[in-house]
Symmetry: C2
Subunit: 489 residues, 2 copies
């Protein structure tokens, strides 16, 4: 008989860039998704849960945004086809709409929430699976659809706990940018590369500052590590027009619109874009969404190449401390825009669409950073096991508590060491421990240990005081539910 080779033990680890979420983390994200979906539904959006796996072909081999080829997908071959995990919720929506367009209402307002996967190099706080939460309107050419999504985004942020004043929804329009580029002499298919560089440069204004962007518009820029990024090669006059665009924001929407109109003079597409921004501004103002919530800001461009009209972004405006303790703005938590070509890939017909994606994990991080979210959840009431033979009675106790809506469980580890049972209760953040030995049972009573109060006393009281055990008291078995309800109140 051949000798069986002993297999090494598998490593108990997630793959690099993946992580698990426990207890409160799951509950908090769920609560946030529930709140977001309530707002989305109030606006008439319908849920869609598309399959996590798509053909690579449908996802657009591999990304619609060819400017970022590094943002790969997880893919594998099956017979002739390549399958892949979705990397966002927009590409699947385009596929779903193309596939079911005869059955779906038009316009089709849909929301989707769920994980997406990116085959990228993981880094600190940078995961390869994360949640997105999208709302899109497909088949509505009017910018009223874009305005609606901006209003909904504002409502959503307030609903999940970001108060007015702590966020701003900024709106811009790609057509205006295209108009400015046209005026700067960057129209035409042969200027594709330059336009791409300009777009990405503008998108980095926050990070690189004006000087850095100017360098990228011109010859190029060397970063701190010595890496050189090639610039768009614009002349000073051209660069001036682009820089003027980024700083075109004025105190009021009307003034910004007026300034943009000056900048795009002579460009038809630019003028159309400014007109759209004006319409959005009017709709927002009519509904009372003033500049404390939504404003026109020409510095917003959004990285993705597929946007064709309005683009929008929600930014949290409060400061947090970075990992080195320095204050910085929290930054963007949601963004989106109009993309009129994604469905066309499938059907050949242009289908107008606009939508937003909320980075739920970032939004949760923001609420944590502001101390608006409790990391600690209250655990269940723990019924300790003093006497292994009386397990049925302990189970009956938790049954009574659960019937009264109280979270409760029997300790199911080895009951021998009572200290371990209390340590377990502590680890679970249990508010109360129930103790019933055979002595108590014979007398028709129970001991209730108030673990919250107990922890408080342990912190502040002397050993003598602590020994008085004011946090533990005896109650009648019949009063169990009522007494625990009082303690939890």
């Amino acid at each position: 008989m051949a000798k069986v080779k002993k297999q090494p033990r598998p490593k108990a680890e997630t793959p690099k860039g993946f992580r698990d979420y426990f207890g409160a983390e799951v509950a908090q994200r769920k609560a946030m998704l529930d709140e977001i979906s309530e707002v989305y539904q109030l606006y008439g959006f319908e849920a869609l849960e598309s399959s996590a796996v798509e053909t690579v072909e449908a996802l657009g081999k591999f990304l619609p945004d060819v400017d970022r080829p590094n943002e790969g997908v997880f893919a594998w071959q099956e017979d002739e086809d390549w399958l892949a995990l979705r990397y966002d919720l927009t590409a699947p929506l385009a596929r779903v709409y193309a596939q079911f367009r005869n059955d779906l209402p038009t316009p089709y307002r849909r929301y989707a929430m769920g994980p997406v996967w990116r085959n990228e190099k993981p880094g600190p706080g940078r995961f390869r699976q994360f949640y997105q939460c999208d709302a899109d309107t497909v088949g509505a050419p009017s910018v009223a659809a874009d305005a609606e999504i901006c209003a909904m985004l504002s409502d959503t942020l307030e609903r999940v706990g970001i108060p007015r004043g702590d966020y701003i929804v900024r709106v811009n329009n790609r057509k205006v940018l295209n108009g400015v580029l046209e005026v700067a002499g960057l129209a035409g298919a042969d200027k594709d590369t330059e336009r791409g560089i300009v777009l990405r440069a503008i998108d980095k204004l926050d990070r690189l500052g004006e000087e850095g962007v100017r360098a990228l518009l011109g010859a190029g820029r060397e970063d701190e590590s010595g890496d050189f990024t090639k610039g768009a090669g614009l002349g000073d006059a051209q660069a001036e027009i682009v820089m003027g665009f980024m700083s075109a924001k004025r105190d009021t929407g009307a003034a910004t619109v007026a300034r943009l109109n000056e900048l795009v003079t002579g460009s038809a597409i630019g003028a159309a874009g400014v007109q759209e921004l004006e319409t959005i501004a009017e709709l927002m103002a009519a509904q009372g969404y003033n500049s404390d919530r939504i404003e026109i800001d020409p510095s917003v461009v959004r990285g993705l190449g597929y946007y064709t009209g309005p683009v929008y972004e929600a930014e949290l405006t409060f400061e947090i401390k970075d990992e080195k303790g320095r204050p910085r703005q929290f930054g963007s938590v949601a963004g989106g825009g109009r993309y009129d070509d994604l469905v066309k890939r499938f059907t050949g017909q242009e289908v107008p669409a606009t939508g937003v994606s909320i980075g739920v994990d970032r939004l949760l991080a923001a609420l944590h950073a502001k101390g608006r979210m409790d990391n600690q959840t209250v655990g269940p009431v723990i019924v300790t096991v003093m006497d292994r033979d009386r397990m049925a009675e302990y189970q009956t106790i938790v049954g009574e508590l659960r019937t009264a809506g109280i979270r409760a469980e029997v300790y199911l580890g080895n009951p021998k060491n009572f200290g371990n049972q209390l340590k377990y209760a502590d680890k679970r953040n249990a508010p109360v421990a129930v103790i019933e030995g055979s002595d108590e049972a014979a007398r028709g009573v129970l001991q209730l240990k108030d673990l919250v109060l107990g922890a408080e006393i342990a912190k502040t009281a002397s050993l003598e005081e602590w020994k008085g055990q004011p946090a533990q008291r005896e109650v009648a078995r019949a009063d169990l539910v009522a007494e625990i309800k009082k303690m939890l109140a």
Copy 2:
């Protein structure tokens, strides 16, 4: 310049075996998952959301159940490693527990809900991505943990809308089966193959009947298509013992236990198993879970090879019509059991664990089959667009409705054809359409069209009656919210 080859359009299709879920389907599943998680939490279980992607190594190359090698996973290579989509929620739990065992409480009660993926041949109603909803207790050796999960399963089914009497939770114990096999002379490592055949044969009792199982215990069985399945080769006396086991169920738990004790006479493992069943039965009875909810049933074996003690299964006992209109029992919707070796794969130390998996999609199908679930959800109030220039006013109307908690939207398609707007409202299952032309606006009124009543009238009334339009009436603009609230009440 080289001629650019025109790319063919991608097909707008999900990969084979995958599907999308729309509107009501998503909402109903979410509602069910919410209810299930509330019961799980009441029992003290904590949420865990592990990553969808695991190393193939951690999943157990490819499945822990080597008896079913066809149940493949979706996997791809990354550098040295193979990564794969999880095929259930149990293997990831074992990995998580092994990875974080020093930080997690012991026992660790966790629940998880989410999609799993199987690289299987798709078939009608058989998908390669589906939801599971699991609860497991890790680190509790006592069968009180198994009993708790059976009670929780019973509570869960009633909570989601399966009334008592329409389901039964059946409990058995692998040790009893092993004892019976020992008595039948099938102990020992050299009888592994035979034991596997016997186990699968018992699992098929429902489908093949007594005769079919007997054939599989003996020489083998030829099915209708002529395919031959090799049998376990048991003699008549041996087969009789196994068949006796399957029909050992008696009217009461106590009688079943007594019968099982007879069958395992002489087997230590068998006696231990019967003892465990007895303890479970006592715990259940003490908490009032009688045989109308939970019963001992020796015909339950559960297919998976990794179970080591109690196994349990929830079956819906009502009849539904199959695709050919024949009545049949709905069958199993949940199952699980004790598996003490899964964590050991990682750590070398045996960690007792027990848990259940609910097939959420099957449970939803059951509620649909019983007509206990409405497929149609009520859509939003639709504000029609009579006058494109008054979009801001229409948006203001929906804003008012939403502030009052009423789902509402403006029609954002091309408003030219009013009939299309009403068709859209119909497709959305909208209860009310709001109509405000410039004439109405000037008079400070609106038209409200009751689409539910309208559909009713259209079905039953003559054309003359219909033209009277009793389903449409004029209300003051100021009374909008109050009037619509009345119509929705």
